[in-house]
């Protein structure tokens, strides 16, 4: 698409949307958002970029090929689920560790496998949709 306005706006929009997608991912546990939604927004941001600057440019901006991102996400999600298994719980049981306290109320923050799993979801959705979209676009 050869539109100067769109191309110029896209650069700004993409960065904003991508950061927004991360924001949605991280806040998902308590407020609307999460890995699925975050991944979709992230995918949209890169699709906008590829519409503005072409799929080759967008692939370069992504650095890693989207298929790899999707597979990586699947692997991260699996590992997050397997972690419970190694800790002696049934597979995919969320594991929580409190930093600076011993419960949700007292802890400063928590480290948990649930968020790791959601990051995996995010990457799968992002990578899956982008690999499709780029393949479509490059289909000339």
């Amino acid at each position: 698409m050869n539109s100067v306005i769109f191309t110029a706006a896209a650069r700004l929009l993409v960065a904003l949307m991508f950061v927004f997608s991360l924001f949605m991912l991280l806040r998902g546990h308590h407020l609307p958002g999460g890995g699925f939604i975050g991944g979709l927004i992230g995918a949209v941001s890169f699709i906008v970029y590829s519409l503005a600057c072409g799929p080759a440019e967008a692939r370069k901006a992504l650095r890693v090929s989207p298929e790899v991102i999707a597979m990586l996400g699947l692997g991260i999600a699996l590992l997050a689920g397997m972690f419970a298994f190694f800790m002696g719980d049934p597979l995919f049981t969320g594991q929580w560790y409190w930093v600076g306290g011993d419960s949700y109320e007292t802890a400063a923050f928590s480290i948990n496998t649930v968020l790791v799993f959601d990051i995996g979801v995010y990457l799968v959705v992002l990578g899956g949709i982008l690999s499709l979209a780029y393949a479509f676009e490059e289909e000339t």
């Binding site: 998902g28 546990h29 407020l31 979709l40 999707a70 699996l78 969320g94 990578g127 690999s131 393949a135």
Partner: protein, 758 residues
């Protein structure tokens, strides 16, 4: 040879020697069980595997499984050592070592497994690993074809066997062989006949009983060490092992006696004639293996002490001499460049050690005293005389053993002491790793015969006890049992065998003539496969037309039909439509959705249709928002957006729709679309009509904060309560994306190559 060019050659040799050493260690490990098992104390190991399905990894070491385990590991170690020399320098030798070792482990699992399902898994593992081994020389199409034949035939039998096992598990309530066998015969249970047929289908295909025999000689396409291993103590004996293992549960009926006697005897006699007919010594041995399998099956038909002792003794002696002879043929082939019975002769001077080993194995095979083979034959005749069908079994055994005597002469005597022929190569003795196996096995055959008490106490009697379900104290394994009928039959065997050996050339010609006229099952197999391929192609053309529209039509038609049938069958009654109380907003959204739908149907532009579909989707998202489900609404909106973008990219490259109404298929499509729409509406209304069950909602509302520390219930369900489901979904997303990606890229590449040709 290739040793110099391959920098990994030392590692490859090491991989072979390492596996051989490991197998030898396993052999030593199993030796320690000899004393307790002989004293009547079987050992059992159990690990839970799938407790919910009553499947466990349980292993049971009794006389039968221990004898097999020792044969598998002992012969295995020697064969692996032999292969390290035989295939030295082969560029895929490491692969071969892996296959052979995996096969050994699968086989070991098979004979030790106490759980029927575990046994089945190991059974099929031997099928797959033997497929790799038989097809090892994969550049040869014949080798591939024969490997596939063995795979298809034995795997089909294995599946039938699985069905039989499951029937046993359902009717008897246990998959553990030790429990089943302790409970006694199933002969008066319901489904006994069906179970028997299914299990026998597995055993007979694996052990190559006529008419499933043809895969075994074809499997000789494999390198010699494979044949030596698969066709002496392992692969083909698996069927016999199963028959022996399940003897206490499955025998005890006339069907068992008749089926095994007839199949076994026919296989034994047919195979021994075929063995005489062959000129390739490896093929000859293949058919004698078939003979041995038939004989074993025949004796397992019986339940008397002598019959079972005969089966176990013959099993032991056959494993020893057959492995030795196969390895010997490999050494001869290696040393002279040929395996042709007509050419080989006079090798005793150039290959003295091989000749001695061959003589030991050959004498055991012919059943000459004081080799164990003699005892096996004596016991076999005694067993045959005790069987119900002795009138049939005794003459059949006599013919088979006499022919075996003649074949032993052809294989083990003639190449070394017969007249010298034109050899392709100056004969030379084999290297020691290749001689070790034949020599050790030959010596064992002699030692076991000279010390019948020891071999009986440690090996044969415990195995017999395992098969019979009770200790056998008959003291039947003796070198000298006195002047009796079996001895007389033995003498007749020797006389008849000697005559047959004298006249074997003429007989071979006669057999070749008969064979030329007989039906060829092997060619029949190829025809069967051809017909099957034709059939599957026709079926694929019928069902998978490749036209997306037809797939969609079929899918929705099936959906409509099943829903319609359910609705009519359940007689759901009337539905009350209530429009009162709908707000202005709700009416508006509904109108938006309907307008979008109408536009989709009427437009002739793909882009307009797409946008109209987007309107429908956004209408649905609005409804989600009105009922305060922000997560679902956001997802819906984003997905709608993406669908529009992706489809727009695709549509840019597609032609415009035909003007509506001109297509011949639009009428049935319209009918189907309206039907599906109406049915879906009815189903939704019916669902909404049901009182809402709040149990799940209440649970998630209560637990999402206290148990999963999250306030967004939708997200907590996705990533905590139902993580496995989510994982399944993202796996589908990833695989679907990869699949579509491959499809698109594949199309692009196919078109590029086409464009290049123009």
């Amino acid at each position: 040879m290739a040793d110099n060019s391959d920098p990994n050659a030392p590692w490859k040799t090491l991989s072979g020697l390492g596996t051989s050493g490991l197998t030898a260690l396993l052999f030593l490990y199993f030796l320690q069980f000899l004393a307790p098992v002989a004293a009547g104390e079987p050992v059992r190991f159990v690990w839970d595997w799938i407790p919910s399905l009553d499947v466990s990894l349980s292993f049971y070491i009794d006389g039968l499984s221990l004898m097999f385990a020792l044969l598998i590991t002992g012969i295995g170690a020697m064969v692996m050592l032999y292969a390290a020399k035989y295939l030295a320098g082969h560029h895929h030798y490491d692969r071969f070592a892996l296959y052979l070792f995996s096969f050994m482990l699968s086989m070991l699992g098979l004979v030790l497994a106490d759980n029927l399902i575990a046994l089945f898994v190991f059974w099929e593992l031997t099928t797959f690993t033997s497929y790799l081994l038989i097809g090892f020389l994969h550049l040869d199409p014949k080798s591939r074809r024969n490997a596939l034949q063995a795979l298809l035939l034995t795997a089909t039998g294995g599946l039938a066997m699985l069905a039989g096992f499951i029937l046993i598990g359902i009717t008897q309530g246990t998959f553990e062989l030790s429990e089943l066998n302790a409970a006694g015969s199933l002969a008066d249970q319901p489904f006994y006949l069906l179970i028997l047929i299914l299990v026998l289908a597995g055993a007979f295909t694996k052990s190559a009983q006529v008419p499933f025999h043809f895969w075994l000689p074809n499997a000789m396409a494999a390198p010699t060490p494979v044949s030596a291993y698969l066709h002496s103590a392992t692969m083909v004996k698996a069927g016999v092992y199963l028959l022996a293992r399940m003897h206490p549960s499955l025998s005890g009926s006339d069907v068992w006696v008749w089926t095994l006697s007839i199949f076994g005897a026919v296989t034994a006699v047919f195979a021994s004639f075929m063995a005489l007919r062959q000129t390739d010594l490896k093929q000859t041995l293949a058919y004698t293996t078939l003979m041995a399998l038939g004989t074993l099956t025949m004796f397992l038909a019986g339940s008397t002490g002598y019959a079972i002792t005969a089966a176990m003794t013959f099993l032991l002696v056959h494993s020893l001499y057959k492995a030795g002879l196969f390895l010997m043929i490999g050494v001869v082939d290696h040393g002279t460049g040929t395996r042709d019975a007509n050419v080989l002769g006079g090798l005793k001077a150039s290959m003295p050690i091989t000749a001695a080993a061959a003589a030991a194995a050959g004498l055991a095979m012919a059943g000459i005293p004081p080799f164990l083979g003699f005892i096996a034959k004596e016991v076999a005749y005694a067993g045959a005389l005790e069987m119900h069908l002795w009138l049939f079994v005794v003459p059949m055994s006599l013919i088979a053993f006499a022919l075996m005597f003649a074949v032993a002469g052809i294989v083990a005597y003639k190449p070394f002491y017969g007249p010298q022929g034109q050899l392709p190569r100056e004969p030379h003795e084999g290297p020691w790793p290749m001689l070790l196996g034949p020599v050790v096995l030959g010596v064992l055959g002699l030692l076991f015969g000279l010390l019948p008490g020891i071999s009986a106490y440690y090996l044969i009697e415990p195995a017999v006890a395992a098969v019979m379900g009770e200790p056998d104290t008959g003291g039947r394994v003796k070198l000298w049992a006195g002047f009796n009928l079996p001895l007389l039959l033995s003498l007749i065997t020797f006389g008849l065998g000697f005559l047959l050996y004298q006249r074997h050339l003429a007989l071979r010609e006669r057999l070749a003539q008969i064979e030329a006229r007989a039906a060829d099952l092997d060619a029949g197999w190829d025809r069967l496969l051809d017909h099957f391929v034709t059939y599957t192609k026709a079926q694929t053309r019928l069902i998978q037309t490749g036209v997306l529209r037809q797939y969609m039509f079929a899918t929705f038609a099936v959906f409509a039909a099943t829903v319609l049938v359910t609705l009519i069958a359940r007689d759901v009654g009337g539905i009350a439509l209530q429009f009162a109380g709908l707000s202005f907003m709700e009416w508006g959204v509904a109108l938006l959705i309907v307008a979008g739908t109408v536009l989709v149907v009427l437009t002739s532009s793909r882009i307009v249709g797409l946008v109209a579909l987007g309107v429908v989707g956004i209408g649905v998202a609005l409804i989600f928002i009105m009922f305060s489900a922000p997560d679902v609404a956001i997802t819906q909106l984003l997905v709608e957006l993406l669908v529009v973008v992706l489809l727009a990219m695709a549509f840019l490259k597609m032609p415009n729709l035909d003007p509506s109404g001109s297509q011949s298929h639009s009428f049935p499509n319209a009918v189907l679309a309206v039907t599906v729409g109406v049915l879906t509406t009815i189903v939704v209304l019916l669902v909404v009509d049901q009182p809402f069950d709040r149990r799940l909602t209440d649970f998630f509302e209560a637990a999402s904060w206290t148990e999963a520390f999250g306030r967004n219930i939708v997200n907590v369900i996705l990533v905590d309560f139902r993580t496995l489901d989510t994982f399944g979904e993202i796996a589908v997303v990833a695989v679907a994306a990869l699949g579509a990606f491959a499809l698109l890229k594949g199309f692009a590449r196919a078109r590029d190559t086409k464009g290049g040709e123009k």
